[in-house]
């Protein structure tokens, strides 16, 4: 199973994501914002990053840009957890190097299906 980094400033969303993924056997590290996620990413080799877009300190877009600048994360899948109302945010995320997105609200099944889609 995969090592996954879950980034969201909302404790309930993060908890839901982490709980669901752990239930499926993944090893999940949680981070509260982009900056903390970068710190975690430097310390561990994650196979997948799931990140919220709107976060304090460092938002998801800036985080993706920074991650892509790191050799270890050049090709690692990064999924943005976004809301449907922000098509331009999706594109901004893509431009920064995100692999794709998962549209909020999603339920645990959708999350697992998407993660499976990316990890194969």
């Amino acid at each position: 199973m995969a090592k996954i980094l879950a980034v969201d400033d909302s404790a309930s969303m993060r908890g839901m994501v982490a709980f669901t993924l752990r239930g499926a056997g993944h090893e999940v590290t949680e981070a509260e914002n982009g900056q903390l996620a970068l710190d975690a990413a430097r310390g561990g080799s994650f196979e997948l990053v799931l990140a919220d877009v709107n976060m304090p300190v460092m938002d998801g877009i800036a985080m993706v840009r920074e991650l892509r600048a790191m050799d270890a994360y050049k090709g690692v899948p990064i999924l943005m957890l976004t809301t449907e109302s922000h098509t331009e945010k999706k594109m901004e995320g893509k431009a920064a190097g995100a692999t794709g997105w998962l549209v909020k609200p999603f339920d645990p099944e959708q999350l697992l299906a998407t993660v499976k889609r990316v990890l194969g």
Partner: protein
């Protein structure tokens, strides 16, 4: 229904949403006072956005629908398509209130949307340009599928750098139908020399054929994430007619439509309940440090104990001193865990002041100081209402209207200051205004009218100020709907007293008033005076002691019914013989040989006769009810330094007993 029980995250969601709404409110109020910080707008937007996402995820569709509209409005502000004005802030503040109420109802499993929230939602919808009020219904049924598709897919060089793998796409296409690779080719962007090949770039293209009754939307969904990362041409296999335009992937619908409605469990609120506090990690670290020291001291002492020689007496003494110090620090650290900053109470005042300004047509500048001052959690929870009352009073009665202020040569905007700080073992909270000050004449007139004082009675400033704390007192010329309705200053004083504190006022005519609340740091420990009654020890809370004195026998008057009184500062106080009240043997019965401790509760005083005063001590209050039963006149018990048990005198109860004996 999901296999993962999402209700376990509800409590966290409600908590963070409440915090988010508080942050929104604070930022809106900051914007209202003229701040133009872009970060404020972001904060407001982010909070709404998080609440919407969480509400939709956790199945609170009504909250999500409402927040969605509010967010759309905020999005216009964020993208600078809409200017911030007072009207907008007012609507958004109302929205914050509405969301708060909706979340509150959600958390209690009650129906969420009501007429009020619906009306506000419609108002927001009208504000948002071009917003569709009704939620979009889930994507229409798929168009009749064709027999297959030609897919020309050419990766752009940077494709791999987005974490997308062509293999994944093929795998997903294979799940839709039979996938045939017609041709794979190297693109023109590939370097001519192998040495120049960059492994992180992709130079490949494919012509694919997907056979089967597959909807176009399903293929679009596979390539959904690759917009801008590849060249893509999808066409139905020849000779198959396309049946009209194909519905877009269901990614653009509103959260209301896609969130499966989940029944809110009625028990959800009750089950996860139970009071909890967030403790800063530094406080926990301090505890662990202290524990470490305690362990070291303990091992050092047991080491001495194992092979004790008299020559080690010095080391033993050092060890005991260290133990005492560590224990005290440990005690303080543990107490500190219950302490929370008063800022959480202060935070509600900007909004209150904002609303009162509009309602009363006054201008107020609110200053908050000492928000980081920490208070015991229980005290903190109970001090909110008295503070709200004092703040309302200050704005309603204290501060004058802009016109009156101008006439008095003051600035039109009044200042209301809230301050909190430590003083000795107490927390002091002050509410000061630069208004007119207490109106002595009006207070005296009202007090006479209410029969609180006799006509023509001369009163000092302090005595006049005391009058406003008398039950049923109100100086408002006309009762506004804010202060002076039912709840008076006497209730404020009683609430503060219940917390072991006191409240007083200082006022200068024309310059303003300052209300000062003094509170104990914690309710779990009291400062007490240890007294001896026979062989028993009683502790009297220090805060309620007025004075201790020795009486001469001739200063005591007997009154009808067997009661005793003595003259103390212009009044006669009943004497309460503690040995008699609590049936202690071998106590001093001759008043000349005992000591009278004057205690006060709610302005009523009683003299307690005890044998002797033994000194002050901090007493950790243990409930007597929990271990034994309720005893009148006793509020609890504590353990003295010699290990014996002492009872703590319930001042209120004893005073009531004493007053009754005086009346008898």
């Amino acid at each position: 229904m999901s296999a993962v029980d999402l209700t376990q995250f509800h409590k966290t969601f409600f908590e963070e949403s409440r915090e988010g709404l508080d942050a929104m409110e604070a930022a809106l109020l900051a914007l209202d006072s003229g701040a133009t910080d872009h970060e404020l707008v972001h904060t407001i937007f982010r909070a709404a956005h998080s609440i919407k996402g969480g509400a939709a995820t956790f199945g609170f569709a009504d909250v999500a629908a409402f927040t969605h509209v509010a967010e759309s409005l905020l999005e216009e502000v964020r993208s600078e398509r809409r200017a911030v004005d007072a009207g907008l802030i007012e609507v958004l503040l109302c929205s914050v209130d509405c969301m708060r109420a909706m979340l509150e109802r959600s958390s209690q499993g009650q129906p969420v949307a009501d007429a009020e929230s619906e009306a506000l939602r419609v108002e927001l919808v009208q504000l948002v340009s071009g917003e569709v009020a009704a939620p979009v219904v889930a994507a229409a049924s798929m168009v009749a599928p064709v027999s297959g598709w030609n897919i020309a897919f050419t990766a752009l060089p940077h494709l791999l750098q987005t974490g997308n793998d062509p293999l994944r796409l093929f795998r997903e296409l294979q799940q839709l139908g039979r996938l045939e690779v017609v041709r794979a080719f190297i693109t023109d962007s590939a370097p001519a020399q192998l040495a120049e090949l960059d492994p992180s770039q992709c130079y490949l293209g494919w012509e694919l054929r997907l056979h089967g009754a597959v909807a176009r939307a399903e293929i679009d969904a596979v390539f959904d994430w690759l917009d801008g990362d590849c060249e893509l041409a999808i066409a139905p296999l020849a000779e198959v007619a396309v049946a009209g335009p194909v519905a877009q992937a269901a990614g653009e619908s509103l959260p209301v439509a896609t969130a499966a409605p989940r029944p809110i469990r009625e028990t959800a609120a009750a089950s996860g309940e139970g009071s909890s506090i967030r403790v800063g990690i530094d406080k926990v670290d301090a505890l662990i440090n202290m524990m470490g020291e305690l362990v070291i001291t303990q091992s050092m002492l047991s080491d001495i104990g194992e092979k004790f020689e008299l020559s080690q007496l010095g080391r033993l003494r050092d060890g005991l001193v260290q133990l005492e110090r560590t224990t005290r620090e440990l005690q303080e650290s543990v107490m500190r865990i219950r302490m929370l900053p008063i800022g959480s109470v202060f935070n509600r005042f900007p909004r209150l002041v904002h609303d009162l300004e509009r309602k009363l047509d006054k201008r107020v500048k609110l200053e908050l100081h000492g928000e980081h001052t920490e208070l015991d959690k229980t005290v903190l929870e109970k001090i909110g209402d008295p503070l709200v009352h004092l703040v309302r009073n200050a704005i309603d009665h204290g501060l004058e209207s802009p016109a009156q202020r101008k006439a008095a040569g003051k600035s039109e905007t009044g200042t209301l200051k809230l301050n909190a700080y430590h003083e000795g073992g107490n927390i002091v909270v002050q509410i000061s205004d630069d208004g007119a000050g207490l109106n002595h004449a009006a207070i005296v007139a009202k007090a006479q009218q209410r029969g609180l004082i006799a006509a023509g009675q001369e009163l000092s400033d302090a005595e006049v100020a005391e009058l406003i704390f008398q039950p049923g007192f109100s100086t408002a010329a006309q009762a506004t709907d804010l202060s002076g309705r039912g709840v008076g200053m006497d209730v404020v004083r009683r609430n503060v007293r219940d917390l072991g504190g006191s409240v007083g006022v200082r006022s200068v005519s024309g310059k303003g008033s300052t209300f000062t609340i003094t509170l104990p740091l914690t309710l779990a420990i009291i400062d007490g005076l240890v007294t001896a009654v026979g062989s028993e020890r009683y502790i009297v809370p220090l805060t309620s002691i007025v004075e201790s004195l020795r009486l001469r026998a001739d200063a005591v008057r007997r009154i009808a019914g067997g009661g005793e009184v003595f003259h103390f500062r212009d009044e006669y106080l009943p004497i309460m013989r503690l040995h008699r009240a609590f049936a202690c043997n071998d106590a001093v019965t001759d008043i000349e040989h005992g000591i009278v401790v004057v205690i006060e509760e709610d302005g009523r005083r009683v003299g307690l006769l005890v044998d002797d005063l033994l000194g002050q001590q901090q007493a950790v209050v243990k409930s007597l009810e929990a271990h034994y039963q309720r005893v009148q006149g006793i509020s609890g018990a504590t353990i003295l330094s010699d290990g014996s048990v002492a009872l703590i005198v319930d001042v209120g109860g004893v005073v009531r007993l004493g007053q009754r004996s005086k009346a008898a």
